[in-house]
């Protein structure tokens, strides 16, 4: 992996991650996570749900950012409704509320996009809004949406400074979800969708792991050993997630962990908490 991408994956990247526990603090408060085995189980669950969703979104965002800087082929942007297509136009909102498990809504073509939709006036911004809405529909907890947007804003700030790009500019202005910004930052730093998916999948477990060290006083060597044990699973999730990069956005995976959503909501209202989320 290119050193620029290692910078993006580094937990010392000054992008606000240190103030988020990846959902771990409320799990510790609830007594669900108490030691390294329960932390490992928590991280596995998170990787399989949030990890897969964010990695797939990051890969799709990276593909969009890469494509948008090149001449656009008719079929390169899979998520957008076709403007003025034979079946009519699907609005971004329609596309956004479309659930992954649903059949494609009428008016949304699978796999094609009108070039003018993307390259024309404001078209690219619309494309990012549609993908951002896909992220919203896969993040049922309002607290987690706020956290994802706050972290997206912070990542956009540091990424724009280091790897300026038009896509990051748009996403910073839109206040987009973190995985979208991560995907665009990966593209700006010279990486592809598979890299973006790897960084996102990896990031979905490292935040919780370091929060476990801080909140429970867990042995950092033991926690690192646990992370090492998750490496193959992280890679498998990233590979699966990157596979969605060329497919219509409505088909992006949407597994969820309702308990994590409930924890996130309870945490946002808690009096005593160290982490933002």
């Amino acid at each position: 992996m290119h050193p620029s991408l290692l910078l993006l994956a580094d937990s010392r990247l000054p992008a606000g991650g240190h103030a988020h526990s990846g959902g771990l603090e409320p799990a510790v408060t609830a007594g669900t996570v108490t030691d390294i085995p329960s932390l490992t189980a928590f991280l596995r669950g998170r990787l399989a749900t949030t990890g897969l969703v964010t990695a797939a979104l990051a890969a799709a965002a990276c593909a969009l950012a890469v494509t948008a800087t090149e001449p656009v082929e008719e079929d390169r942007l899979p998520g957008l409704p076709r403007a003025g297509g034979a079946t009519g136009t699907g609005t971004p909102a329609e596309a956004a509320t479309h659930r992954a498990s649903d059949p494609p809504p009428s008016g949304t073509t699978t796999g094609t996009v009108n070039r003018a939709t993307v390259t024309g006036d404001g078209g690219l911004a619309v494309a990012w809004e549609v993908l951002d809405a896909e992220a919203d529909t896969r993040t049922p907890s309002p607290a987690q949406r706020r956290a994802a947007r706050a972290q997206g804003r912070s990542l956009a700030r540091v990424a724009l400074r280091t790897w300026p790009s038009a896509a990051l500019d748009v996403l910073a202005r839109q206040g987009a979800h973190h995985p979208l910004v991560l995907g665009a930052a990966t593209a700006a730093a010279g990486g592809g969708p598979r890299d973006a998916a790897s960084i996102a999948a990896y990031g979905s477990v490292t935040g919780g792991a370091s929060a476990g060290v801080r909140l429970l006083g867990l042995d950092p060597l033991g926690v690192n050993e646990a992370l090492g044990g998750l490496a193959a699973a992280i890679d498998a999730v990233a590979a699966e997630a990157a596979g969605y990069a060329g497919r219509p956005w409505a088909e992006l995976p949407a597994p969820s962990a309702p308990v994590l959503d409930l924890y996130a909501e309870a945490h946002a209202g808690a009096d005593l908490r160290l982490f933002e989320s």
């Binding site: 992008a15 606000g16 240190h18 103030a19 700030r157 540091v158 160290l274 982490f275």
Partner: protein
């Protein structure tokens, strides 16, 4: 827009670009009087300067709540930031949450002159990043021991103003104020030190005067 370095002798001058508010960091150990000093500055300066405050609470929103309860500023000028169990990270290594909070306040209240960022209570090595604070005050507590200035540390040595607070407690805890002041002067290379008692002089006049000078100076340097 660019940073403006190298104005005269003030070799780390960080003059706010584009006429934005001056950002003042207030750091120091737990309980030394950071919130009390923030409240004092707000009370004394709010009629002459447009102010806002960001607090970095460690666990609760205690400091922000205190400032709101004391009504030193209207609620919408006070924002609390959470620091994930690492107060110095939030003011030094990864300042993004604080920058977000400061910029949101600046957007909500155009024309702010001064934004105070109060750090969570921390150790003697905590220092605000120059990316977050244009100037910083480090607050020590007399009751924390009169050997603290001698021990130095980044906060004591490098802050633009060192405040040695709670001088009213010196006779009770047997701290030698002159020793503290002279030890501090030795490691501070001529930068100012203020001895305060917020109990006896709740307006912190010496500190307020320093802040006025700093804000006025940053306006002079700001590009037209």
């Amino acid at each position: 827009m660019g940073a403006h370095f190298g104005h005269g002798a003030d070799h780390h001058a960080a003059t706010p670009p584009g006429g934005r508010a001056l950002r003042l960091g207030i750091g120091g150990p737990v309980g030394s009087g950071k919130t009390a000093l923030t409240a004092a500055l707000c009370r004394v300066l709010r009629d002459e300067l447009a102010l806002a405050v960001v607090t970095n609470d460690i666990y609760t929103t205690e400091d922000a709540d205190f400032l709101r309860r004391e009504a030193v500023l209207s609620d919408d000028r006070i924002t609390a930031v959470r620091t994930g169990a690492c107060p110095h990270t939030a003011i030094r290594d990864d300042i993004s949450a604080n920058l977000d909070a400061v910029e949101a306040l600046e957007q909500r209240h155009p024309g702010l002159d001064l934004v105070i960022v109060e750090s969570g209570g921390d150790n003697l090595t905590a220092l605000f990043s120059r990316g977050l604070a244009d100037r910083q005050i480090f607050v020590l507590d007399v009751a924390g021991g009169d050997d603290v200035p001698r021990k130095g540390g980044l906060g004591v040595a490098a802050a633009d103003l060192l405040v040695i607070n709670k001088t009213d407690l010196a006779p009770l805890v047997g701290s030698d104020l002159e020793l503290m002041a002279s030890d501090a002067a030795r490691v501070r290379d001529g930068k100012p030190v203020a001895l305060t008692s917020l109990r006896e002089a709740p307006g912190a006049p010496e500190v307020a005067a320093w802040v006025r000078r700093v804000v006025a100076g940053s306006r002079e340097h700001a590009p037209a």
